[in-house]
Subunit: 206 residues, 2 copies
């Protein structure tokens, strides 16, 4: 792609470094910005700068936050002795939007994945173990994605905390609500039969 302007080329190159955005899409976005009022581009640029320089992570749960300890951790209406372990902030948002969970979170910042060079020490596992050691945690809920890396991470954390007196659980795997049985894969269907729940429970949650 040949550009008539170095500034244009620069902007397209920077935008096309974002995941899922190629040079053509980047050019479309840049030309769109040029047609909009100048203030829109300036707001976008300063929002990105502020984000990167001022963003903090909650010292307790490692969720993204504007303050030292995030709103969820300081909320005394939430159960302080249940911790849901998730991969990143998107999972916190997804679980929060269900309004079904009233405990705390612990954001790992990823999964153990040797192929990507991510080991236990790149994640916030240490501070999770410290919380358990302190003895104030009753239950740890693993809510990582059900992949090889997720399972490895679950197991690694489990091994670190099994000597302490803490209940561990994982979120249920099964057929999605609204899904037809015949289209479900065998592993999921098999697990959902093994981990069947009393019928009265299913009445409560719906």
């Amino acid at each position: 792609m040949e550009f008539s302007s170095r500034l244009l080329e620069n902007a397209v190159n920077e935008i096309s470094q974002l995941p899922g955005i190629g040079k053509r899409t980047a050019l479309r976005l840049v030309l769109h910005l040029l047609r909009q009022p100048e203030s829109q581009t300036m707001h976008l640029a300063s929002a990105l700068q502020d984000l990167r320089t001022e963003i903090k992570h909650c010292k307790s749960c490692h969720n993204i936050s504007d303050v030292e300890i995030c709103d969820i951790c300081v909320n005394l209406n939430r159960q302080q002795d249940i911790i849901c372990v998730v991969e990143d902030i998107r999972d916190v948002m997804a679980i929060e939007s269900t309004s079904q969970y009233k405990g705390l979170y612990h954001v790992l910042g990823g999964k153990i994945s040797p192929l990507d060079g991510i080991g236990p020490h790149n994640l916030t596992i240490g501070s999770l173990v410290e919380k358990v050691q302190a003895g104030k945690v009753k239950e740890i809920i693993f809510a990582l994605s059900s992949t090889m890396e997720g399972d490895t991470t679950n197991f690694y954390i489990y091994k670190q905390i099994e000597k302490y007196e803490v209940k561990t659980s994982t979120i249920a795997r099964g057929i999605s609500v609204g899904d037809e049985l015949e289209y479900a894969d065998e592993v999921t269907l098999g697990r959902s039969i093994l981990n069947r729940v009393p019928f009265e429970n299913s009445l409560k949650s719906s």
Copy 2:
């Protein structure tokens, strides 16, 4: 979507104003930037700022350029008396990448589209007519997209310049190279028969 941070929410909102990017994608992009070195975000932000504050349009052809008159217009190896009329800079880049055209361009900045509130005076039609009036143009090639708005714009410009001694042409419409005839739509196929070219010509261009 509930955000744990105002900075995060701000960045996501600004990014999701870009065409084709929703809130979920914007969040994914922002989290990606947070995982990358700080310099990447800073380069992106300053590239956008520089683009918006410093970008110029060529005074002759209205193409985006870093200088007063763009590289294409000052290039004396190009034919200065043929002007190809296009909608925006992407079309210039598309035609340039074919290496088949050695004349100049004129970027309209859009098409006449009353429904979107774009009339002839929002485009650079005036300066195109001036060039023709000056008598230095031998041929105008219309290369707008083949839509109602494109055809309207072509016709409007044609009416403005028909009293001057200038040849006008439009780019050929027809079956794409490599396309199978049976999948072509009737209008395109019909036009490609009406506007058939001598067989020797087709040998030259391939």
